[in-house]
Symmetry: C3
Subunit: 401 residues, 3 copies
């Protein structure tokens, strides 16, 4: 094999694909196993991925599992109160160590042969090993784990820049929500038989909101650039008075390896004050927010995590590739840590908006993939309302190469 | 890679397979993904494929979907009363445009971003596209669509000869059934985990009828060449008096790219007059047929469509490849357009014969595929009663190369 | 292609895998389709595989099917009382000939076209074949079939040494159980989504018994080398007095192509006399065993068949590869042929121990495979209690090459 071959399309099929700027991606990006394997390496396993929330780790020994692709990780509060993450793979013969998706333990005991690991991952007991076996070399393998305002992120990439440093500029904008003192009220996973990029391309544009999401469109001005422009000045004024950061932060296409982020406030239609069926509050105010009003924040942290922050609850998405044409859309609903179900909020009311919207998206995305799989698919031009999808595609192409 | 390699077995594995004339095909024809991909191109996507019946398109805007392989097509009655067929793929980002399998619409509106297409496929409305976007270039992609005596066919091949011209010789033989004035009384799909060629090889011989289809064999003389020969002269005389075309038409192996067809009358055992549980009529006579008697017509149109035309109903088969070892057997039962369910026919009685026969074939074909997948499979010699299967294999081999 | 290529890792990926002696196997052995295909050829299809028991073939024409990988075989008692095995593939067009998993027939009649085969496999009737067709060339294909003390084995390998000759040394040890006069009381299949080698590696060590199988561990001293050593002398003395062979036989790693075997007696904890929930008898004594006591025999015959022989019943395992990560664990429970369900034994009590143990193993093995599939899996060192697993790995590596 010569050098030309080595760098050619055979090894890197995405290089031979003729993408037309401003258009959707060629079909192979959504259908090729080789492209998918590359996506995992260059996007999912290189960046910071939202893993969970500190409220899920209330005490020493509290842990939860995170599945990424076919990998499983343990995130745990260790004895020194540090939150750590480990590959959920026993160092003996490779069994998964934790089977339950969350819980509280004093040590991690492998269910196969009972090798036991401390909460900091060190092998602390095993039986009948030969002379000369040194347990120091057999601790659970670690992955990076950092916390941003209560949100726990992990990365398989030892060289990724620190999460906190990357997010420093945008930190003040999130501060008012005080997510560190929030709590997971509900989580759900929607699995769609489509490539992960189609799920993000869908999430990143509101061109489809008016035709496909009447529930969302009744409430959020993002569905109409004209309305958004018209209603924003008054909203920003109100937001500013309530203490919100009203400037936008946009680092959604980082070229230097730092973690992507985005923050922008958008108006809700009167008289909606949150994302709910009737537009009325569904939970107590988050953090130090003094009152309703001030619109909603649309945010991004990292390449596959997005959020919608209302005054009374926050919705976090993680788009997680599971196979070439299979993606989990994991959603978490956060409320104030003192909010009590039944007394302060009703779970069905809290989750209604993004359950109905995600159900609709699941159908949309599936039918998008089906059409992309056709020999008659030809990537068409994107509208002005799909600017962020275009930007995602451009960023993706720069990363994948 | 030299020219020899290019044309060698690596690129065209079917060339390296050693087929013994008069025998079943080597296993790879039923198991290889490369052969299957070739089959789609050279057979399914090159020929005319039965799509539906004009009775399913009663008014302007009436449409139905056809799935072929992983493709989806829309067949619609346009505003000018022409029946047209389109790839069911939006020209924007590729979503399927129609999701319901049939219906009536004023325009095709993509459920994703509401791009709207006229019934003739032209893009007529879309929002927020950049300056200079020319909708003329973004109509739904068309495939060929022609009608033969009320039967709608589509072809993905722009160069296939006209259906009507190809079928001109056989048209008079079908005329007595007046299928244009028939109606779909029932349709059903039987999915079998086997290669599509095994389903056609099964359909094309009656060597298995006596052992495997007692219901069919009680009624149809095709199960016994001796009986068929003995009873045919009297049947043909009666058929001639009733106005049937009694000569056979056989163009089932066209070498010039024209559409295959076949027509032959076969006797039913006395006192059966149609293909039903008790041999008695199950619906009003079709077309201009004056009375019962005159046997049954066994027909073929195109490479994957076959029919059995009784005096009171017609049964149409489409064998549709879905994967290397997955095939849909789509069946349609046609009755006179004025026949009313409950009054003129009972659906269960109408469909009994070919439901029970197809259920049996589904089991047979599945077990055939299972055996073919064995390392002990060796293609055996075909009997005299499998002449048409042998012909199908020979034709297939000439087309595939 | 030069010689280097021929012997290189591309053709034989297992050669490029860096196995560390004394450790678990590299992941590719449990994940690679190429390794799996090789495993079938060099292990499953080269050796003797347990197929069933003579009690399942009580009369001439009695047969049962055996599925191996994607192959199906018929094992039948022929007219001359010989037990024979055939590929379950019709010589005509390849259909499976027998569809029911067991039964009694006078001949094998293919359900497709009614080709009929004698019980010795000869084609004896078929219809409408062309002149010159010689049925002598179209009998069912045979595979080897031999019987050892009532246990029927088949082999796809015409050159494998005779089963009986290979097993001659160990035959006296099994004789006391008189399995020829036993009877299948129950059989069950546990399918686990894991590579077959993980199922055998699991079965061959009792390092996991104490942590993972409390039911087994309460009864069997194998779970503790210390207890096993301590209790064995008294047990062997008692066993000897009862007439058991007390020496061990160990040919579990044959290098000459002969069939592997193993036999060793191990103690049960007092007061257990058999492998049951309360340790008390669950069936009448087998063969010529005079009384309870004398521990339990752990045995192996062939590469994928293992057994646990208690005084009152025997449990036989067959670990059968179905796909790279799919294995059937087939279990058979044997009792004395005169034992009658309801009167002499209760099926639920008889099967309890190995049902509960196998259910637990199914979970264990699945989670082992999941961890092995991780990029963080690194084969760890095996303990002293996993000696037989280490030996299996070493033997496997010597065979696969």
């Amino acid at each position: 094999m010569n050098d030309l071959d080595r760098t050619g399309a055979a090894d890197a099929p995405w290089r031979g694909l003729d993408h037309k700027p401003g258009c959707a991606l060629p079909a192979e990006f959504y259908t090729s196993a080789a492209v998918y394997a590359r996506d995992l390496e260059t996007i999912l396993f290189r960046s910071w991925i939202y893993a969970g929330h500190v409220s899920q780790l209330p005490a020493v020994g509290s842990y939860f599992l995170v599945e990424l692709g076919s990998e499983s990780f343990i995130v745990v509060r260790s004895a020194d109160d540090t939150i750590r993450a480990f590959a959920n793979v026993c160092r003996h013969r490779g069994s998964r160590v934790c089977l339950e998706s969350s819980g509280q333990v004093r040590a991690f005991v492998c269910p196969y042969h009972a090798w036991a690991y401390d909460l900091d991952g060190r092998l602390r007991s095993r039986r009948a090993m030969p002379e000369g076996f040194d347990p120091a070399g057999y601790g659970l393998k670690t992955v990076r784990c950092e916390i941003f305002q209560g949100l726990v992120f992990i990365s398989l990439n030892a060289d990724v820049p620190d999460l906190a440093i990357s997010l420093e500029p945008v930190a003040p904008a999130y501060a008012i929500y005080d997510l560190e003192n929030a709590r997971v009220a509900h989580q759900d996973t929607y699995t769609v038989d489509a490539n992960w990029k189609l799920t993000i391309e869908n999430f990143m544009e509101c061109y489809h909101c008016a035709p496909a999401h009447v529930e969302y469109a009744r409430c959020h001005t993002l569905k109409s650039p004209k309305d958004n422009d018209a209603l924003r000045p008054a909203m920003l004024k109100a937001a500013s008075e309530l203490g919100y950061e009203t400037g936008g932060y946009d680092n959604s296409m980082p070229q230097d390896g730092s973690v992507a982020y985005y923050y922008q406030r958008n108006a809700l239609y009167d008289p909606n004050v949150t994302g709910s069926q009737d537009g009325r509050p569904v939970a107590p105010l988050l953090g130090s927010i003094p009152d309703f009003g001030g619109g909603v924040a649309d945010v991004q942290i990292g390449p596959v995590s997005y959020g919608i922050f209302y005054p009374d609850h926050a919705v976090l998405y993680r788009f997680q590739p599971r196979d070439v044409q299979k993606t989990d859309m994991d959603i978490v609903w956060l409320v104030h840590k003192d909010a009590e179900e039944g007394r302060d909020y009703d779970r069905a009311s809290l989750t209604w908006m993004w359950e109905v919207t995600t159900e609709a998206d699941k159908t949309i995305i599936l039918n998008n993939q089906r059409g992309v799989n056709s020999r008659y698919y030809e990537p068409g031009p994107l509208s002005e309302m799909e600017e962020f999808t275009t930007r995602f595609i451009d960023w993706y192409l720069s990363e994948i190469d």
